[in-house]
Amino acid sequence: MKRPLGFMAAAFVLAASLSACGTTPTATPQDTASSATALSGTLTVFAAASLTGTFTDLAAQFEKANPQVKVDLSFDGSSTLVTQIIQGAPADVFASADTKNMTKLSDAKLVAGSPAVFATNQLAIAVPPSNPANISTFADLAKPGVKVVVCAPQVPCGAAAVADAATAGITLKPVSQELNVTSVLSKVTSGEADAGLVYVTDVKSAGDKVKGIPLGLADPTINKYPIAAVSGSKHQDLATAFIKMVTGSSGQETLKAAGFGAP
């Protein structure tokens, strides 16, 4: 009596596991508009470090709306991610913190379709809550003895820092050039740096671990964040759906709440 039951159970488990690891979409054409589309598979998203909080939220929302989909996220400096994708990293979606790095990817013929700008961001000064160097303006960062940390110039936040310093006529002498904005923020929150140039969204997400000081520029550098599907990915349908969500109302709401500007 037990044997057939056990055999059936095993067969059932086998069938269930086989269907779960399938990558072919089962979306029916008339269902694509609703969230009941049966997309399945694993979506790999490479996103700029400044998108850590928002994209983690958006990935959770996407997984909730598509229960058979799993989203794998990788956050780092945009230039690092581009290098990885060009070297063959299996990304399906790339969200960059500036258009320069997205252009690098399209020059390498790795962008499917055309990128869509989904948010904008600008820099702010982050200081430890005690503000040991008494920073109150952008010009204070150039005072001798102030330990300023910025991103390296090839990373979007570093390029913006160079441009903003030039606009303000300030000569910045950073003590370190980090490879992504998260590292800059952590040097400030750990108390090692007197000040760091990070995004306004990073200041917001750090809460009371840092104190934010606006740059006070009339014409600050605005970083445009493009998102695109990577060509050659095996999950074009998932990528398209994810990008649609990010550029759609729920995505835009999440980004706006985090402090990002409208695209």
């Binding site: 230039s79 290098t83 090839q154 950073p174 370190s176 050039q177 980090e178 490879l179 040097k187 090692e192």
Partner: protein, 265 residues
Amino acid sequence: MLYVVAGVGVLFILLPLIGMTAKVNWGQFIELITSDSSLAALWLSLKTAAASTALCIILGVPLALVLARGQFPGQHILRSLILLPLVLPPVVGGLALLYTFGREGFIGKLLDDVGITIAFSTTAVIMAQTFVALPFLVLSLEGTLRTAGQRYEAVAATLGASPSTVLWRITLPLVLPGLVSGAVLSFARSLGEFGATLTFAGSLQGVTRTLPLEIYLQREIDPDAAVALSLVLIAVAVVVVAVTYRRPSSGLRAAVQAGRNSHDA
């Protein structure tokens, strides 16, 4: 069959090195390794690695002597702790240094009061390199000391030599090959240090951006430069290995033989 598997092992090491050498842009090689940022990184790496090696010798020789010749409770535990940086991930070492000597660390706070800041300085680079390279010197020297034994030191002492005379004229010359190979290994390890340097010292051209950090940066901007600089480090590594592992323990064997000959004469 043995040779086939051994061959696979050899290929596993050789193929990536060959692959890298094949990617070198030979036409622009000299130009790439003599650019401002490359030269700054090269010079900084050599400077700091030399300083770290010197520090390793100054700290490591007494430590190796104590571990090899001493007899005190907790000796095994001390040896395990000293060798910890060998197996610790370098980033973890860097974090440990940061939370001790950084501005918020318990020693860093004291230094900050006196006006000394270590983080983001070349001193931090040297400290990070010494932290990871010291065990190499201690391990190499301790092994040589144990093999050499204490026979010659005992003879010298009975002949009336003071302890410092024994150290400088008998012990150190006897273990010189072990000391040299330990120093060369420490130098190579310091030259290649990356994780601890990045975490503790940061990255700034001419101050803290050593060659490995420069390569890490350049691979996103100018991959040709990264490959060229990598080749320089590979060349250094080849020289280090050739010097250190020419003939294992040959130096010690020769020294013991020379000692035996002079004894018989």
